[in-house]
């Protein structure tokens, strides 16, 4: 494999990892607060549709992003209502909302545009445009580093950089701020937070809202960054891959970065079977590459590669004990 092919794959790794990373961080905030969320998929889908639709109508991608965040937020709040206020089964709520999202996105898109459940193709300002980082042109002639900077690191859309920036920010919030301390505490032992006079409900809702926000960005990137418009089931299981990445990352922000880039890399490879064959001198069937993130996650879950211990109070509604 020559260097430029390698850079191409890295470049698409960046693009494919971005929605995974945003969704993974979304899940991280929720699960760290003790709310399991297997509804990342649905929230992303919802956001993708809202962004696609509103960006197409308004012609502005940023208004579209806001709509996407709004759509994901509504689903996040319903999940919060079920899991926090009514102490329902968080897993079932997540599954249910994924189905609702899968159906309602097509229904709305069809009602708005009558294009078979898709939103119209986005172009110009209705879509994210690549940002050239400074000196990309000038540096591109420097060997090795130059092309890497110009082709892989530069030239992505805003959300790619926002997603990567979200990693240190999440880390800082979780480990260096009062909010983060309380959030981590409520996911481990909500009674410790309650007896300290802090509202468990409010904390968990804040976490769920952050989840909605990040899922909104992830979905917006799907329909206005990675692709140009919303199509039915366009997230194609990315919410679940993000969930897998979260386990892989052991619920840590930097781990989320590594895990989603690993999975993004696998997805990028799956798009280039010719490259694999050239490098390995035999072909790996595409379905095997598609399944690899899931297989890796099962191996991690099985505890053969370091134990993944979820937040202790995860999945359990908080009830004051008598």
């Amino acid at each position: 494999m020559d260097y430029s092919t390698f850079l191409q794959i890295l470049d698409s790794t960046f693009r494919l990892a971005t929605p995974l990373l945003l969704a993974c961080l979304a899940g991280l905030f929720s699960e760290r607060s003790g709310i399991f969320d297997i509804g990342l998929e649905g929230k992303m889908l919802m956001a993708a549709m809202c962004t696609g639709a509103v960006a197409a109508i308004s012609g502005s991608v940023w208004i579209g992003v806001l709509a996407g965040i709004g759509g994901a937020m509504i689903f996040a709040l319903i999940h919060g209502l079920a899991s926090i206020t009514f102490r329902g089964n968080q897993l079932i709520s997540g599954v249910a909302l994924n189905f609702v999202a899968s159906g309602i996105t097509v229904l709305v898109a069809q009602a708005l545009f009558r294009q078979g459940g898709r939103t119209p193709p986005l172009s110009g300002d209705a879509r994210f445009n690549p940002i050239e980082l400074p000196f990309a042109e000038a540096l591109s002639s420097v060997p090795i580093i130059g092309p890497l900077y110009a082709e892989v690191i530069s030239g992505h859309t805003a959300l790619v950089y926002i997603a990567i920036l979200a990693v240190p920010v999440s880390w800082w919030v979780l480990y260096r701020s009062r909010f983060g301390l309380r959030l981590r505490a409520v996911g481990e032992n909500p009674a410790s937070v309650d007896t300290a006079g802090i509202s468990v409900v409010r904390l968990r809702y804040s976490a769920v809202i952050i989840t909605g926000l990040l899922c909104g960005l992830a979905g917006a990137y799907m329909s206005a960054g990675l692709q140009a418009g919303f199509g039915r089931e366009m997230t194609a299981g990315r919410g679940y891959i993000a969930l897998a990445a979260l386990i892989f990352a052991k619920w840590r922000p930097w781990g989320a970065l590594y895990a989603t880039f690993l999975f993004g890399f696998l997805q990028a490879l799956a798009l280039r079977p010719d490259v694999i064959e050239r490098v390995l001198h035999f072909s790996i069937p595409t379905p095997a590459l598609d399944a690899l993130p899931y297989i890796l996650t099962v191996i991690v879950l099985a505890g053969f590669v370091g134990r993944a211990i979820p937040p202790r109070a995860g999945g359990e509604p908080y009830v004051k004990e008598r």
Partner: protein, 528 residues
Amino acid sequence: MVADTQAGRQHDAAAPVQAALAIELRGISKAFGSVQANKDISIQVAKGTIHGIIGENGAGKSTLMSILYGFYKADSGQIFINGQPTLIADSQAAIRAGIGMVFQHFKLVQNFSVLENVILGAEDGALLRPSLAKARKVLGDLAREYELDVDPDALIEELSVGHQQRVEILKALYRHADILILDEPTGVLTPDEADHLFRILKGLKEQGKTIILITHKLREIMEITDTVSVMRRGEMTATVKTAGTSPEELAELMVGRKVLLDVAKTPAKPGRTVLEVENLRVRDADGVERLKGISLSIRAGEILGIAGVSGNGQSELLEVLGGIEHGTGTIKINGEVIDLTGKSSDAQSRRARGIAHVPEDRQHLGMIMDFTAWENMCFGYHNDPAYQKNALLMDNDAIRADAEGKIERFDVRPPDCWLPAKSFSGGNQQKIILAREIERNPDLLLVGQPTRGVDIGAIEFIHKRIVELRDAGKAILLVSVELDEIMSLSDRIVVMFDGRIMGERLPEETDERQLGLMMAGVGEGEGA
């Protein structure tokens, strides 16, 4: 503040009549559904004193204190803090009013450091760094002042129970608590740790803090409190000066009548040896050794009582004998060695050997709360051929008929085998389990805490049945934290401490004081 301290120092002299009150509760009532946990409770706690609240399990002590701490809202009543009527809507309000609480089950985050736990909810700003630095300094000061040393950077999960409790006290003091409530603080402590705790509490009192100690242990009340209030069935029955009362009087106030703990029984006629245990060792999931080489034996027709502070290996002993835990060493039943780790080391195999088990935790182990009474009556014996219709199907009619007989003979109320177990009172749940286990006519009956949370009437019934089984020539292993129960039921008493046997005594040749010392790990060793 100066006045508070003076009041604290004056308590040894007759307390001043108009002593300043730290807390006054007036007419507090609280119901959970149809259960009245607190009925019209009024209480006054003077500043700078240690005030004990004593009562049986379920008397409403913890509920009352949780109301004071803002964890629950009272249905009616008023709270005065330092003479001011105070509305305590939530824990934050209680903390602002200077109240700190150490719960029975600690409210700590296991994978946080001590410092992080201490500042949680009492941070000085949105950033953690300055709060942590400040807490580190304050903790150092508090440690020096009150014998409260804990490594501030240790994770909670690495600390012993005693140290975790200190973190809880530090949390309260860090929040400037003047009033400290401790709920059953010694239940999980070794005697050494308990002594240390009492020294800390006395030190806090010297500094003018007011302390409320909730317990059901008379000895602690007598040892450390200035005043004691007694609760029974949600009501406050009396408040007396500790110096002017006796354990006997308090016991009577607690249960509402003279405690008749003498069980009518004839001397035991021990027969052949049923159970022989040699060098039994058990490790828990974390690899900590809980049983450190136990050896004992029980003969047919005798009751061996195991005394000890809870958490000293008694539970593990029951569990390994009952096939719930694995262990190493030798256990022989009727002379035959049983498997302790392999395939047949489970509860089914134990039952097949004639071991019946009334577990300590009846609601989580002994029965399925959502199952009906009849389904629970065959729980653990559901493979018995008598309960099967054929190779595939169970004979539910036979099980129900059997259950109805047991319900009648053990006077389970209400006598309805279709009710789910959770609808019965604690005493009747215990009768269901006892009926199931005793009527199997086992060679060895394991009984853990047979009367915990059981009303007085049922206690006598249960004791009588256990003695009857002994008189029928069966071996019985009784584990109880209630010394009275051990003393009145056992034919021999073994005291456990820290996973070991401290010694053996005959009930008629010992007393509670001597047993208490052994339970505290002060071993003489010559009795074993």
